[in-house]
């Protein structure tokens, strides 16, 4: 083999590969929910400080994504959905991902402490710890409830956004957390239903693998039912309003209908139409969360004009 072919075969990472390590699609959810948490908080934040804080929360989320890819490289190599990621495809080494993840974790927490307050910074550090150590290293490979408890990590960003503005925690920020926390299991279990071989091949104890697919369908319905009161409690809280309530009525009706349809089906039916209902439920779940937080944003904007919220009725 000549030097030339050696260079041809080397997979030198491009800048985009390092961006991929930060899971940009997950970051978009983090950015949006953290921004809503910050905007709906009662204390105003300087626009530049708010912008920087959201950027740093997103960076912290990205850092935990890189650490997740570092630790999960072995199962990412096996799963169809993840084998194209930078580490399994050989473009980035595991050590590079670890270094990037640790470096960005430290930088994002330190900078958030300086930009906003140290409570928000500690909260971001705890979120990274929870996602990487509690979820990725411990629960993900241990229990079929991995998604339920691990979902907390994805639910913290609006609380961090709220903490940036207020320096603390309140009922409203806990309700925003609870909405994402209860939404996560149906969202991921729907994905697990139509990504059928992936988790079993990787040996990840997803509910579909340990308890079967019929049980997973039942669990989706149960968690969707439990999600409804949380959505309405948020709508009637001080950060909710008529727009959030309207969104809650429509979105929860659609979500319940989807979960019921999933519950009523068996595997043969699902196989026959290529998991059409499960896939549309998964897409609906994404819209559910974005629309819910979008409605909170609309109510907050209306409140600033003196017409939103429950006070003016």
């Amino acid at each position: 083999m000549s030097d030339f072919t050696a260079i041809e075969q080397s997979r030198e990472a491009g800048f985009g590969d390092y961006v991929q390590l930060l899971k940009p699609r997950v970051m978009s959810l983090v950015v949006f929910t953290a921004m809503v948490g910050l905007v709906v908080a009662p204390q105003p934040v300087h626009p530049y400080v708010a912008f920087v804080s959201i950027l740093l929360i997103a960076l912290g989320g990205g850092a935990s994504g890189a650490l997740n890819m570092w630790y999960d490289a072995d199962i990412d190599r096996v799963m169809r959905r993840t084998m194209g990621r930078p580490i399994p495809s050989g473009r980035v080494s595991e050590g590079e991902a670890l270094g990037l993840g640790l470096g960005l974790s430290g930088l994002s927490c330190l900078m958030l402490g300086l930009a906003a307050n140290w409570f928000a910074a500690a909260f971001l550090a705890f979120t990274i710890f929870f996602y990487v150590v509690i979820y990725t290293m411990w629960l993900k490979r241990l229990t079929p409830q991995n998604i339920v408890i691990g979902g907390a990590a994805g639910a913290f960003p609006p609380m961090i956004g709220w903490a940036v503005a207020t320096g603390g925690v309140s009922v409203e920020s806990i309700l925003m957390f609870a909405l994402i926390f209860m939404w996560t299991p149906p969202h991921f279990w729907a994905l697990a239903l139509f990504m059928k071989d992936d988790y079993s091949r990787a040996g990840v104890p997803m509910l579909t693998v340990t308890h079967g697919r019929a049980a997973t369908r039942r669990h989706i319905l149960v968690y969707t039912v439990l999600l409804v009161p949380v959505a309405f409690a948020l709508a009637f809280s001080s950060i909710g309003g008529p727009v959030t309530l309207l969104a809650a009525v429509i979105l929860n009706a659609m979500f319940l209908r989807g979960a019921w349809a999933i519950r009523q089906r068996d595997e043969a039916e699902a196989e026959a139409d290529g998991y059409r209902i499960e896939k549309s439920f998964f897409k609906l779940s994404l819209a559910y969360l974005f629309a819910h937080f979008g409605a909170l944003l609309v109510d907050a904007s209306l409140r600033s004009f003196g017409v939103g919220g429950w006070g003016w009725l």
């Binding site: 260079i7 990472a13 390092y18 400080v49 906003a116 307050n117 903490a163």
Partner: protein
């Protein structure tokens, strides 16, 4: 066979270095902007309660 100067490997390295340069530049600007905002708010005495603990 001679190596082409414009080999894909060089393009990737250039892209990576440019990207890192831009990120570091953005970081410097971000910290500079934060310093300006913090100092001007300190002068105005407008720092909110949540941020007083970090000073």
């Amino acid at each position: 066979m001679a190596l082409n100067r414009e080999h894909d490997l060089h393009r990737r390295r250039l892209g990576r270095n440019m990207g890192l340069g831009l990120v570091l530049g953005a970081l410097v600007l971000m910290i500079f902007g934060l310093s300006i905002v913090k100092m001007s708010r300190l002068e105005e005495g407008k720092l909110p309660a949540s941020q007083e603990t970090s000073q």
